[in-house]
Amino acid sequence: MNKISLISLRDHEGAVVVGIAGGLNAKRKLENMGIRIGKHVIKISGASGPVVIKIGSSEVAIGRGIASKIVVRRK
């Protein structure tokens, strides 16, 4: 299994979103930012504090609590 949370991803590592373990509200807010199942993301930073990812051509900062609920598969 190489499904991990977004937090465990290393900086500069790319991954595909495979699941969002949050409630409907969290899911909707993430969708608004373009973060949903099947999307490719690249982690930019997030050793501490919010996780910053690149998705499409935009960058999004995600609080650690929400980030821990985003399940990704390493590429």
């Binding site: 608004n32 930012m33 930073s45 050793a47 504090g49 499409g56 051509s57 999004v60």
Partner: protein, 571 residues
Amino acid sequence: MKILLVGNPNVGKSVLFSRLTGARVIASNYPGTTVSFTKGRFSFLGINGELIDAPGTYSLNPTSKAEEVAVDLIEESDLIINVIDATNIERNLLLTLEIMQNIKKPLIVALNMWDETKHRGVEIDIARLREMLGIEVAATCGLTGEGIAELIRKIKKAKIPQVERKDIWTFIGTIVSSVQKLHHRHHTFSDVVQEASIRPPWAWVIAAFMVLLSFQTVRFIGEGLINYIFNPLFDNFYTPFIMKLSALIKDGSFLHSILIGQLNNGSIDYAAAFGMLTTGLYVPIAMVLPYVFSFYLILGLLEDFGYLPRLAVLSDRLFHKVGLHGYSIVPMILGFGCNVPGALSIRIFEERREKFIAATLMAVAVPCMAQTSMIIGILGRFGGQYVAIVFFNLFLIWFILGKLLNRLLKGRSPEILVEIPPYRMPSFKALVKKMWIRLRLFFSDALPYVLLGVLLVNILYYLKIIDFFAYIFSPLIKNLWGLPKDSIGALIVGFLRKDVAIGMLRPLGLTIKQLIVSSTVLAVYFPCIATFMVLLRELGVKDMIKSMAVMITTAVVAGSVINLSLSLLGF
């Protein structure tokens, strides 16, 4: 006819709005600049009507007050211009399709930031997009004005979209894959800067540098304007006039004390005289305006460059300790300019608890520029370190009070989820325009209140009302804060204007310790009336009463503790 500009946050709606109406609105490079709507008149191609600039929203299901405003406006409008960030159509199309499926109103799309697509490796087939959406699409660039004429022409061709109800994401997927081509591009210098400024440890170094540099520049420009422009202007051109006037209406008369105030051995000390034509003009123009000007110059640069969201991410952990998330840095930073826009910006937050904490902390511990420049003017004469002590006190109050509120109030800290815009080169014209809006607001909103404040001071003294309150509150003021009882006057006037209030400390001949205590207490105990009105509206009566209780308690406790600790330190 009512036309509405609607779209995701930070796609350039406000810039387009100014282009189309000529009206002046504040635009910046971070999500959430517009929290309320602005209406402007337009008249083109024989159509007259009203154009409305709405706050940004990601979807028709609002998650904050600002988004609610946007969604409500959709209902009221006759025609909708959906503004889309051309470099990011996938995310932006969600709102477009929601509007198409649910709102039966004429709609056109403005594909904004078109100029950025080229250097960001995005290629969009506009004709194909128009065909697939079935509505008019115009490529625009708000900043340069490119494509605006075409957008206007297309308003006439706007029609009610016809769409079948299919799954939105599948539809978006189909559109994106057939109209957008992404070209691979190598890392540019701007990518490197962008990453370095958000990724620790370099991000910390850059943040510390940016904050220090901003602070020093604000000070340098502010001081420079005062010493080399405003003071010489007053001394050389205004003083002779005032002295003539003074001789005309006779020192000692009531009219003299209202207009000119008290002369100091026959000469005029503008900061201490307390006449409407002396202190009433000198305080706002020669003491406050220079700092307001330099603050908004630097803030404008940081906003337009796009640094604020990055600072928000870096301060997220600090803000979590006080029950907020990093984006709460926005109301705090705006509050340093003026607490009114700071209080308005809490609309971008979702939860009541978050709004309450953010608003209270800002009102308590963030002194506005008018107040700050007076603290510098009155206390800074004895040395910059004393001004630093006041700010250090305020930071401690902010932090301790925030920790307490976070612990005492039920609920959890919300989490940050925010788009970080790319860095953009600030446009000189846009910057000047934004400063003009803010400075004009300062003149129209602050100047009358300052004059009113000075008038009030005279009336309060004349009717001996200050003596009355001084008598009642003297135990608190003297025993706990170590201040002379006359300083109650400043606390009364502080409800109206903090700058005038701090100015009132000057003639009292306070010691350094007393100046530090009174400056801190004046910042904490209550917001000025203008901020109060906004907070009352945004928080509601119940939370405002709670917030006021917190403010007053904090002022009493913090004032006493600071007084005691400074005494122990030998001040």
